[in-house]
Symmetry: C2
Subunit: 214 residues, 2 copies
């Protein structure tokens, strides 16, 4: 049975993305520190960077990184996560993830501007849909063909799905840093935990992996 899942890296003060992006630093100054434990894992290095040397951390952080990709049949992401906002004038923009993106499944990008689907190497096809959270999810569930659906990000998109009660499993990797700026994941989510079971695991990196499941 399809489950709807979210995985995000957040800071201790709850910021899930930066707001200081520049053309030179398209992810912002803090992004590296926010994602450091995840980016250092063997899974990330292999699956996202194509590094087949076996380098990277193993253990708790890598276990979660590996689960990040397991059994995902379709992904939904916001337009900003695909890079549409930062590259609005480029009709040939194909996303941040290179020729062979790590998703290897249909990816539904939420956008008010229609675009033709973009098939990539390795099984990823980017589709662009203008839909609310429930309709987008219905489309993704159908495409996932029994696999899970991940809401990839960013935090504003994720929060829409959380608030609509559409997420079965929320995993946050909490980095022990205070950013003091960016976009908060937790705004307007009072009482979200009701109906979920919370489990917490600490990694030697100092990262806390907190999961809400129902």
């Amino acid at each position: 049975m399809t489950r709807v899942r979210v995985d995000l890296n957040i800071s201790l003060d709850g910021f899930a993305t930066t707001t200081d992006q520049t053309p030179e630093k398209p992810f912002g100054e803090d992004w590296g520190r926010l994602t450091d434990a995840y980016v250092s894992t063997r899974t990330f290095r292999s699956r996202v960077l194509g590094d087949t040397s076996g380098a990277g951390t193993t253990g708790v952080d890598d276990d979660f990184a590996s689960r990040y990709f397991d059994e995902i049949g379709a992904e939904i992401m916001g337009a900003a996560m695909f890079g549409l906002h930062a590259n609005a004038d480029d009709p040939d923009w194909r996303g941040w993830w290179g020729d062979e993106p790590p998703f290897r499944c249909p990816v539904f990008v939420l956008s008010h501007t229609p675009r033709e689907p973009i098939p990539m190497k390795g099984g990823t096809t980017f589709h662009f849909i203008d839909a609310d959270a429930q309709d987008a999810l219905n489309t993704a569930v159908a495409a996932a063909d029994g696999g899970d659906v991940r809401i990839g990000g960013g935090p504003t998109t994720v929060r829409q799905f959380l608030r609509a009660g559409l997420v079965d499993e929320l995993h946050v990797a909490i980095a022990p840093i205070l950013l003091g700026r960016g976009i908060r994941l937790w705004d307007d989510l009072r009482g979200f935990e009701e109906g979920y079971r919370a489990t917490s695991v600490s990694a030697p990196s100092g990262t806390t992996h907190l999961t809400f499941s129902r």
Copy 2:
């Protein structure tokens, strides 16, 4: 050597106290959920409630609760934590903690209104001082006589000491709940983690104990 320590219970979205206090619920509606894991420990029941039956949880949460009191030679707290704001018209107000408070050491209450010291049973004496963070700390360190000094709360008071770089060890017990309201601990603390080592331990209660030490 005296170390300056902080222990606070916070929600996942960073709220360390409530703002919905009423005469009937002087700690606010959410306080019980915020402190549930701590209040359930054997240490809290024994030390704060005077329950000598041995009831209460043991394990990770209780280990931290026990450390909460170890080797503390003096405590500093804000006027609101002592209850001065909520009981401003009562010149005989003696705090929230009954005749025999759990501190068992000198407690320095930050207040602009001078009051005579209040000696209590069990070794606690409440002193009222009108001082900035550094001066209050100097006073408390002298009184601690080689013991540690704890900044007890509330979060606004704690944040003053954190921002002034005066805290050697910050322990937060993060409850897996989203309050969405109250007073945030983390505001204006960007980069606090620099110079500290972060360690994280998860308890079966779902609480994450995160400690910054230097």
